[in-house]
Symmetry: C2
Subunit: 210 residues, 2 copies
């Protein structure tokens, strides 16, 4: 059997196939790369319908990355899926507070969940530009929403794509209400892989694809 083995060639060919399979569908050209990269990472064309972009979300995200954004993920899995070469090129840094002993301690003291405490710690300790990349925990989105509505916190971009059956749809609808730049996978679908793919699409558009 003959296989294409050059990674660049594989990725190019994959994106061509995705374009073909999307057929005549029309998308905002600014969002197309993100949509295609999510389909590339999931082989799931539902994302052509599910992904919701607030006005200029992609441009705003790229601007934040160009300025060396702090990128906060809710899981180590999401964090580990974000391309390290592109991060380094732009001087961006990823953070995930969920496993930090400090967060565990504060969560224990306050009786909050670790996902909520992790959001608070990120907001308290990191400087802007700041992008939240949430692929797993609806409670992370809920806590972000509270910080935004109650305390006037303004992240540069929220990538809101938790997956699942409980609280997930509702937590994403909360983010859609906000006047904060966002990219949301409406409905049940999403995941840490989808979160990382969206972040990578923005990174590659900003830093180039090596």
């Amino acid at each position: 059997m003959e296989f294409v083995t050059n990674p660049t060639e594989i990725e190019d060919k994959s994106f061509e196939m995705i374009s073909e399979l999307l057929g005549d569908r029309q998308f905002d050209p600014a969002n197309l790369n993100v949509i295609k990269r999510v389909i590339h990472t999931s082989a799931d064309f539902d994302y052509a319908d599910n992904l919701v972009f607030s006005e200029n979300a992609v441009a705003i995200g790229k601007e934040a990355l160009k300025n060396g954004a702090n990128i906060v993920t809710d899981t180590q899995m999401g964090r580990s899926g974000i391309n390290k070469a592109a991060l380094q090129k732009l001087g961006c840094v990823t953070h995930c507070f969920i496993d930090s002993p400090e967060v565990a301690e504060i969560a224990k003291e306050t009786g909050q969940t670790r996902a909520r405490t992790a959001v608070d710690r990120a907001i308290e300790t990191l400087e802007k530009p700041i992008i939240f990349v949430v692929g797993n925990a609806p409670t992370a989105l809920i806590r972000l929403y509270e910080n935004i509505v109650e305390k006037g916190f303004k992240p540069d971009l929220i990538i809101a794509v938790p997956v699942g059956f409980v609280n997930v749809v509702e937590s994403k609808e909360l983010i859609l209400e906000l006047d904060i730049p966002h990219i949301v996978a409406r409905g049940r679908k999403g995941g840490s892989n989808v979160a990382a793919a969206i972040c990578n699409a923005l990174l590659y558009e900003t830093a180039g694809r090596d």
Copy 2:
């Protein structure tokens, strides 16, 4: 808005909803937990049709885990999605060779891809029981296939769930041909998240769910 926040309660409720949504469909009871956990991680019911289990694959995988298996992933993302508490309880260890400087060096010397070299290094350096968990690289499956067919290598279990558009379907069909225990997501779908979910389903059945 009222949200369920207890993680165990959320997981239990999610699995109830998945059971309801699967309706009257019949599955081999041995495979049901794996199928449900993959749907839980993707919210994608296509996996009820896509997942193919060789005879007793789940029981064989659990036996390997009980004996402190070496678990080899093709990506750091897949590795980071595997539950650490369950691994520790069973004395299992995860490995991912893709980023190792040694693999990079050998790949350079031999002109092979890193994914192929990483499979060879795992086979050369790790003892059985050994489980391969492949969520990304078709070339890792192809190299595994070659080691099995040409060199008589016998892994205890292969979880073969790369996602994508190039080489992916074909590489999974190769594994389906083999007389080696396997769990395969037939077709284009899969991913590191799906790979980790399958591994976790087996881990939780073996170690319990904390």
